[in-house]
């Protein structure tokens, strides 16, 4: 009856969101008076989950699962649910997890609520708060099915250490060829750079930058901050930047600690996708730009003057605070 949490890893290392979802699962388990079991696939350092409230880790080591495969991963999680008799499953909001969670839901006839931003408001009835209308609102949603899946919104609950320890058990799911009927042929992924999904800081630029040749300073600013780079929709439509950088209602959602918007006007569709970021900074020549109404800090000024100054200042700051 333990709460089952899927703790995601990449190349053997837990992702940041693994500790957040583990902490969330612990909060749910405390409400239900039970413990937390994690299912981890090809991760090392499984015992590190103990500090976040996990009592037991089901550790899967399987070479066929080295590359993410939604169906096979979903089936693995489903088998762990069955073994543990779990009725509550906690997952993240990463792209991979949003791929597999509906498959788990379909298989287990479970109610799945993604984009959840707080610990359950009650467990009988089971009630969670989630974002809706692309961050323009919140819904309080009751889950009435026997098995419940909660998708925790990125960076909404945080990771909380409580000094516990976890035991690690091997878990071998039984998988067949049918689980691999969708095959990965090639992965094209930036390495060693923060991604929009995981980064603490996102530096984003819009049409105000005039052309793709001016992105050097945006990349430099991102480098200094260890940030991911993003852009507004027209910038990716114009081919100035890759589609994967498009953020907003129809692009990727951003829920970073710090979002810096440069030469972005702040259209409603853009704001909808980035408003869950904790601190928002805007740099724009136009004091009337709508983004100033949604931001915490702003500079009315020309990006071509302000951004190079900001890079220099941050380099100084980093040197002092290193």
């Amino acid at each position: 009856m333990s709460v089952l949490v899927y703790t995601e890893s990449e190349n053997g290392k837990f992702k940041k969101n693994a500790f957040e979802v583990a902490s969330y699962a612990k909060a749910v388990a405390d409400q239900l008076g039970t413990s937390v079991t994690a299912i981890s696939i090809n991760a090392s350092e499984n015992d590190s989950l103990g500090a976040y409230g996990v009592s037991k880790v089901l550790n899967v080591s399987n070479d066929n699962l080295k590359t993410f495969n939604a169906k096979a991963f979903a089936n693995t999680i489903g088998q762990a649910v069955a073994q543990e008799n779990s009725t509550t499953i906690v997952v993240s909001s990463s792209t991979d997890t949003k791929f597999l969670a509906p498959l788990v839901a379909g298989k287990l006839q479970a109610g799945y609520v993604p984009n959840v931003v707080a610990a359950p408001e009650g467990t009988s009835p089971f009630m969670v708060k989630r974002t809706a209308f692309s961050n323009k609102g919140f819904a309080h949603t009751e889950i009435s099915s026997d098995i419940k899946i909660i998708g925790v919104s990125n960076n909404s609950f945080g990771a909380h250490e409580n000094g516990g320890t976890a035991t690690v058990e091997d878990f071998s799911p039984s998988l067949s060829d049918a689980d691999f009927s969708t095959k990965s042929i090639e992965v094209d992924k930036v390495v060693g750079k923060a991604t929009i999904a995981d980064a603490d800081i996102v530096v984003s630029a819009g049409r105000g930058l005039k052309g793709p040749e001016n992105w050097g300073m945006i990349e430099e600013l991102a480098d200094v901050l260890g940030a991911a780079t993003a852009c507004s929709k027209p910038v990716s439509d114009l081919g100035w930047r890759p589609h994967g950088e498009h953020v907003g209602q129809t692009g990727k959602p951003v829920a970073s600690n710090l979002y810096i918007a440069i030469g972005i006007s702040g259209a409603i569709q853009h704001l909808a996708g980035v408003s869950s970021s904790k601190t928002k900074v805007v740099i724009n020549t136009d004091p009337e730009a709508p983004f100033f109404k949604a931001a915490d800090y702003g500079i009315v000024g020309d990006a071509f003057e302000v951004v190079p100054q900001l890079i220099e200042k941050l380099k100084e700051f980093k040197a002092q605070n290193a």
Binding site: A70, K98, A101, L103, G111, A132, H140, L258, Y297, G298
Partner: protein, 246 residues
């Protein structure tokens, strides 16, 4: 190839969102409804399969009679036929069960849905649908080619993209990239006239369970005023000492 495009009827992206009935319902007053943007990219890709590979394209929507203008728009863009399952789409699991019935009855080879609807952002209908039908599934799909029963897709991942090989029957959760923004079609007069004559079949829902229920809505708390500064020194100080963001 027989394609079903699943269409969600959603508030236009510029809509201000309001709630009514003691904040228990979305208020559609004064809201313009459109084809969910992620579905529109998929529908446009389906038009390509129709024109280049002779596919038949149907669209399906689970919704009340008020969604018909949106369905007619999909017909005006070029879909051949439409099905409306006459039920309120209040739960993703319920909607997927309804669409599963449509897919079974229509014997579709390819189901194109959107990665998520921009209203309730559930993002679960295509995946649950694929599981119920035991069809292959690719989410956040940004390109799709079909050759016989082989399909090659590209999907967006955090920090890049992944090429995938699979087979029909297939469900995808699509988004921008399936076609470009500039490929989207605005229905012309001829399309609109023809759409009036195309079949829009209304079917009653099958018995299905609901797994979730939205009980109350709220709007985000109002934001405090922006702090304007006129130099980067002040900005860095505030970000470090006040916001603790760097």
């Amino acid at each position: 190839m027989k394609i079903l495009v699943c269409i969600s009827n959603v508030p236009d992206t510029t809509s201000k969102i309001n709630f009514t009935d003691g904040d228990t319902k979305f208020d559609p007053n004064g809201v313009q409804f459109v084809i969910n943007p992620n579905d529109e990219f998929g529908l446009t890709r389906a038009m390509w399969f129709k024109e280049k590979q002779g596919a038949t394209v149907h669209v399906a929507n689970v919704g009340g009679p008020s969604t018909e203008p949106t369905i007619r728009k999909a017909l005006a863009i070029g879909a051949d036929e439409a099905i409306r399952v006459n039920a309120e789409p209040t739960d993703g699991f319920f909607v997927a069960q309804q669409l599963a019935e449509v897919v079974k009855n229509g014997e579709y080879d390819l189901v194109i849905a959107g990665r998520e609807s921009i209203d309730y952002n559930g993002g679960m209908v295509p995946g649950i649908l694929a599981t119920l039908l035991d069809m292959n599934f690719v989410n956040t799909c940004i390109s799709l080619e079909v050759d016989g029963s082989n399909a090659t897709a590209m999907r967006e991942i955090d920090g890049g993209k992944e090429k995938i090989s699979t087979n029909l029957p297939l469900v995808i959760g699509g988004q921008k990239g399936l076609v470009e923004e500039s490929d989207l079609r605005i229905p012309n007069m001829r399309g609109i006239m023809m759409a009036r004559k195309k079949a829009l079949n209304v079917v009653e829902p099958v018995d299905a369970v609901k797994a979730t229920q939205d009980t109350k809505f709220e709007k985000p708390a109002a934001k405090g005023a922006v702090k304007l500064v006129d130099n980067v020194n002040d900005l860095v100080n505030l970000l470090h000492n006040e916001a603790k963001a760097i």
